[in-house]
């Protein structure tokens, strides 16, 4: 692991222009394993200034300065096992040759694709309110008098429910106890339920399968 991280070192954070670093370079911590290093005063000061220049680019919440972003392979899963899982758990709603055909071309980044399918599709890039694939939460509301109204659910809390009808009209109802009766149809409800059932291995396998759906 090498020596201590200078970007979180109390010495360097308190150093102004080398005055705390210099004695250490000269061997004041030889007992602790930092040997004296032959360096001119000017060079040692330049080192301090360099470290400060890196420190100055550190990011919020203690995160290090931005460096080269390492290319990481998130595709560790087994695509064949992912396909078996898909056929077992997903095909009641989805199809590799239907709604998900070409998903890996639409979402070429594997991390994005994984986030997308685990979330149930709600974050599909370039989705707009009018996208054909967009699945709104809808509600059917039955008033005490028996009237039924259906529309896109716009807002709900313990006191109010508000829906937007097909013609764009908004209807808002006050909620008192169990009235009006509200049936919510949330296409993501199934996905939210599934979140509690995934093993990380299944998740990686399904992602490995979905990236084959070019």
């Amino acid at each position: 692991m090498g020596g201590p991280n200078l970007l979180r070192s109390a010495v360097m954070l308190n150093d102004q222009s080398g005055e705390r670093l210099l004695p250490i370079i000269k061997g004041s911590r030889a007992d602790a394993g930092m040997p004296a290093i032959e360096l001119s005063e000017a060079d040692a000061k330049a080192v301090a200034i360099y470290v400060h220049s890196v420190l100055a680019t550190a990011r919020a919440q203690g995160a290090p300065p931005p460096g080269d972003v390492p290319a990481l392979n998130v595709l560790v899963g087994d695509a064949a096992a992912g396909e078996i899982y898909f056929k077992e758990k997903c095909v009641s709603c989805h199809s590799a040759s239907g709604d998900l055909a070409g998903i890996a071309s639409r979402v070429p980044d594997a991390v994005q694709l994984q986030n997308l399918w685990v979330a149930g599709g709600r974050n599909e890039p370039n989705d707009t309110e009018n996208s054909p694939g967009r699945r709104d939460v809808t509600a059917t509301i039955t008033t005490a008098a028996g009237a039924k109204v259906e529309g896109r659910l716009d807002r709900i809390d313990d006191f109010i429910v508000s829906i937007v009808l097909a013609d764009g009209t908004r209807r808002t109802f006050r909620r008192v106890d169990d009235s009006p009766k509200i049936e919510i149809n949330d296409p993501l409800a199934v996905h939210r339920k599934l979140l509690e059932t995934y093993f990380d291995r299944d998740m990686h396998n399904v992602t490995a399968f979905l990236v084959t759906l070019k």
Binding site: L7, R8, L13, P70, L75, V118, A119, D157, R192, E196
Partner: protein, 564 residues
Amino acid sequence: MTTRRAVCAAVLLVSPVLLAGQTAAPQETGGVDPASLRRPLAESWPSYSGDYTGRRFSALTQVNRRTVKTLTLAWVSRVATGPGAAGRRPAGAPPIVIGGHGSEDAGVIGPATIKGSILQVDGVLYVTAPDHVWAVDARDGRELWRYYWKTRGGTHIGNRGAAIWKNYLFFETPDNYLVSIDARNGQERWNVEIADFEEQYFSTPAPIIVDNHVLVGTGNDLDMPGFLQSFDAETGKLEWKFYTVPMNPGDPGLESWPSLDAARHGGGQVWVPGVYDPDTRLYIFGTGNPTPAYTGVARRGDNLFTCSLIAVHVDTGKMAWYFQTSAHDTHDWDSAQTPILIDGAIDGRPRKLVSTASRNGYFYTLDRVTGQHIVTRRFGTATNWAKHLRFSGVVEPDLDKSATIPGTLVSPVEGGVTNWPPAAFSPNTGLFYTHEKNGFNIVYLSDPDPRGSMGLGGKTVANVGSAPNYLTAIDYKTGKVVWRHAFPSMTGTGGAGGVLATAGDLLFTGDAAGNFVAFDATNGKPLWHSRIGTITNAPQTHMIDGRQYVLAAVGDTLYAFVMY
């Protein structure tokens, strides 16, 4: 080091100027007697939790399950920030007192967000936000004076409130000063530096007064050691400093770190005020997560005493006991939740207990005299990071649930099942009340070199949905959930703000849709609400002129409710 410094009023309404070296005239009579802080919470609200127990249970009953439907708005008051406009202020404008060591432009002054407790003493509210204290008339919301601290900079994430001792307020600043000001006029008494600004400490907690001690926590995101300090309320002199991680060879807990260097960079910040038991003179508080937060490989071991409940003796700062609520956390789930002292019964025997609902989704009850473990129970319905319970009651973390390159599906999200907004306990119902958020993240290790994983760096997270979120009532004796109230939500957000419990068998808190809600404490049924916006602190209550007020903050605005 104690710095006594001159304080001057901002503008033409000049208050008397204090000369350097001169303290504000102390008045030994009047003000808040520190012994009075032991009284159970009722008419006033003189400390962070209202009293030392952390229960946030008010004895007031005027507003109760029967009457709450008539609760109505008394006043609205918005606090203004900054040093005030240059030039002449209108006659009668509240004075602004300016302190601080920073330059005029070091702080970005925007609207305040009130994220802390508000003191109510003798009809005056003392409200805080980073770099600011306001005195506000509790009867009508009128600002009486403002204290503004010119900051050197630092993280301005929030301030959890002020403390009061006699006639003097104490509060902490983001650039790490403990400032004492006269509660009567906002004039500064003294300020002392409490942590190293260059090492990126920043201070958010509300100080806690015990006798003449001012107990002060602070915070840091850059792998620095956490500590709790005690200052003399009269002089500002440091009395003791307790580190939450091993700092020297031979220190207890060092065996739970791979090296002394790792321990000394191990975090365990004291973000949030604790509770105090006068019988044992123990101050009990929670500590923050170990650092680097998401990369455990550089700090293998349990990482004591991070993510722990710790009891220290207030006179010496010596640790009496600890219990780790997360061993080797790798998700930024600090245990900086204010615990709650409960005088209860376990197996029919009266016990002095302390309970906490932790950010990691587990509920704990301990003996608060000895630290003996009594209950560990999961309350976050989706919480999935644990392997099993150790014999000691500590949860064994599943290290496979740490951040990985291909991603790990984790519940809760970074913010946790609960967080700093305080829980409450009602001795009437025997229930512990907390918000419960059950979100899921996929956590990716983005920098596999552990040296690059300082602070909260080295990972990326994607929120992928949420199981239902609740207001949750827990039996402290067993940890079993007695009832849950689900917050309907379009976006998976949960309830907002902390919880207040009252002897009127009510709970006050914010829901997920911007409503301020009163719930029936026995069953979680909503009884009253007002859509004032997302609650940003914990609601409070107090009694003035025979009227019970209920107070909540939404961003920079205070709302006071009352029954006429």
